[in-house]
């Protein structure tokens, strides 16, 4: 007998399952998980349909084939479930085409055995409730064991991987397991525990089939999770599952109504709760969409960040290579010139000697320029490494002044040094960097002083919290408008362009960076044109914490195996 509500329920479920399977396959046909899900949906669908029509079939001709199909597709569904479980936990061997083929092949072989032999199902009889019952063959136990093992091992695989899974994956597992649990418990309640009560009762057909229909949860739950696989919050899922359950209960109650009035009341209740659930689900979905957007942006951000890191490393690599490649030829030129000037290739005539010395000087200038540019690019990319060592500053100053004594004397300028009576406290500085800054300042002072003197003075700052190094000259001076810009890149005093001096204008910019890395200050003072100038460096005895931390991070993040190695 055909019950009308059952038909509606049946076709609704068929339609739902079929569209769910197709939708998931359509979303990503190449993903093994989606493929096995599609297979699972179709096999459960066919199995359900077969079971349904088995009871409805009036024509005797159909009884046995439908019963056989019931067994065949039941087996197929359980193997599909196993495959799907293995795909969900991303078990590597399950991705192999041969493995998948073998697994489904076993299922197909069981099906063929069911249809073509009496091994599993030998025949059927009509039982006392006018239902079709199978007469089992000798292999029925074998069949049961295979089917139960397939379903159980899938479930065990999920449980086994559950703890190690990512939160998003866990949700998928939870859906699958709860769907399975729900189906199995329905089957247990309707087809095992309550059979005595149900059998022969008025709703026997409905209950006996509820177990079969219950199988849809195995498919519905994880299917839903796959569609909204980026669910993050377990609370959402709990809310959704709960509301669906309420809806389902309220829907099924309609069919248990005893009179028309009850049908109407229960139907209204169902409609109202459906509306509420729809509202709730929409609110939740909005929330999820927002979360997904956030996640998407976070993903983009992190990938961009990664890209930046790669670029950063490439840049650092480039600087390291460039510095080696640029320095090597310059060093070779310098080397050959030294050899020639020393007479290693024979006596050099005085006029040639003169020219070669100029070439030597120009080459030195080029070397310094390359060094400056490399320093700039290191500074700008935060790749300078500082090595702070306890230093007696007077020693360093004397050493530097000695170094320039010759060039000052050649130009006819007096180069002097003024040291404090009491020796200064030891200070931690990067000696090479500081040497570069001070020698650049002395070099500049000599360059821009046509006559008079250059003095280097070392002492304490006014509050005695810092070291002070002053390089003063009686040279061309600096215009007030230039003073502020002096320590920026590529800036030279207006006056200097009129003089025949060289300089890239990078030295002061580099110097400022070096001094600031020590937590210090550097500035220039001048009364104006022709009044000479003073360059002052102040280095605090206690470097500010923030600064040392900054330096430390640079060192940590840019430790490259062979950067900063000269040729």
């Amino acid at each position: 007998m055909l019950l009308f509500p059952e038909m509606i329920f049946f076709w609704t479920v068929v339609f739902l399952l079929f569209s769910l399977g197709c939708f998931i396959l359509y979303k990503n046909p190449r993903e093994p998980m989606n493929q096995s899900f599609f297979l699972l949906t179709i096999s459960v669908l066919v199995w359900m349909a077969v079971s349904f029509f088995e009871d409805e079939a009036v024509a005797v001709l159909w009884h046995f084939p439908l019963l056989e199909a019931d067994f065949a597709f039941g087996a197929f569904a359980s193997f599909c479930l196993l495959l799907f479980c293995l795909d969900i936990i991303r078990w590597e061997p399950a991705k192999d085409r041969w493995f998948r083929g073998a697994l489904l092949g076993i299922a197909a072989m069981i099906g063929v055995t069911v249809f073509s032999t009496d091994f599993i199902v030998a025949g059927y009889r009509i039982d006392s409730f006018n239902m079709i019952s199978p007469v089992f063959g000798i292999g029925a136990y074998f069949y049961n064991i295979l089917v139960v093992c397939a379903s159980l091992s899938g479930l065990l695989a999920i449980l086994w991987k559950f703890n190690d899974a990512e939160p998003a994956e866990k949700i998928k597992y939870a859906y699958l397991v709860s769907g399975l649990a729900l189906s199995v418990s329905i089957v247990l309640v309707t087809n095992v525990l309550m059979t005595d009560y149900i059998n022969g009762g008025p709703y026997y057909q409905f209950f006996s089939r509820l177990g079969i229909f219950g199988m849809v949860f195995v498919v519905l739950f994880p299917g839903y999770a796959m569609i909204r696989h980026s669910l993050f919050d377990v609370k959402f899922i709990t809310a959704e599952l709960l509301s669906f359950t309420i809806l389902l209960v309220s829907f099924s109650q309609i069919f248990f109504s005893v009179d028309f009035f009850q049908v109407v009341v229960r139907f209204v209740i169902f409609i109202i709760s459906a509306a509420l659930v729809a509202f709730l689900i929409r609110a939740i979905n909005n929330e999820i969409d927002r979360k997904e957007d956030l996640q998407l942006m976070a993903d983009m951000l992190s990938s961009t960040n990664e890209q930046l890191h790669r670029l950063d490393n490439a840049k650092s690599e480039f600087i390291s290579i460039a510095s080696h490649q640029l320095r090597t030829p310059l060093t070779a030129i310098k080397g050959y010139l030294s050899l020639i000037l020393e007479g290693s290739y024979g006596q050099v005539p005085p006029n040639i000697q003169d020219v070669l010395e100029k070439v030597y000087a120009v080459n030195n200038r080029l070397t310094q320029l390359v060094e400056d540019l490399l320093n700039i690019s290191r500074i700008e990319s935060g790749r300078i490494q500082y090595d702070f060592q306890p230093t007696q500053i007077e020693t360093l100053a004397v050493e530097l002044v000695d170094m320039f004594m010759l060039s000052a004397r050649e130009k006819g300028i007096h180069l002097g040094i003024r040291l404090p009576k009491k020796s200064l406290p030891i200070i931690a500085v990067d000696q090479n960097k500081l040497r570069e800054v001070i020698s650049n300042l002395i070099d500049n002072a000599i360059k821009y002083t046509p006559e008079g003197s250059v003095t280097v003075e070392v002492g304490l700052s006014d509050d005695a919290a810092a070291l002070r190094i002053i390089i003063s000259d009686t040279g061309i001076g600096i215009e007030p408008e230039t003073l502020g810009r002096l320590f920026k890149k590529f800036v030279r005093s207006q006056e200097t362009s009129r003089m025949v001096v060289s300089g890239s204008g990078l030295g002061l910019y580099i110097g400022r960076n070096f001094v600031e890395a020590h937590g210090g200050k550097i500035w220039a003072e001048s009364e104006g044109h022709g009044q000479g100038s003073r360059f002052i460096i102040e280095l605090p005895f206690k470097r500010p914490d923030t600064d040392s931390r900054r330096v430390a991070t640079f060192v940590d993040s840019y430790k490259l195996p062979h950067s900063e190695v000269g040729g």
């Binding site: 090597t328 030829p329 080397g335 050959y336 050899l339 290693s344 062979h562």
Partner: protein, 90 residues
């Protein structure tokens, strides 16, 4: 030791530098100062040459060289000459 012997002894230097010009300059300079200089250009060659007899007195090692990083070469040398103390100058 006689004066003659002293003059005859030329300390052997293994000079590792891949740039031919730089290598030539140093070779000329060091040879004029009385050293026996052998130049190699790759890290692998250093390890082969270093095992030759008589042994080198000094290895001048460029850190940026083809095939092997200078530091790796140094590490290998230390492993090979386990019994000898290798002094590192920078």
């Amino acid at each position: 030791m006689s004066e003659l012997n002293k003059r005859r002894y030329m300390p052997k230097i293994l000079f590792v530098e891949d740039d031919p010009f730089i290598a030539e300059i140093y070779k000329k300079k060091l040879e004029s100062s009385g050293f026996d200089v052998v130049n190699v250009t790759t890290g692998k060659a250093v390890l082969e040459k270093a095992k030759e007899q008589p042994m080198f007195d000094l290895v001048l090692l460029d850190l940026v060289i083809p095939e092997m990083n200078g530091m790796d070469v140094l590490e290998q040398l230390r492993i090979f000459f386990e019994d000898r103390r290798i002094q590192q100058f920078e």
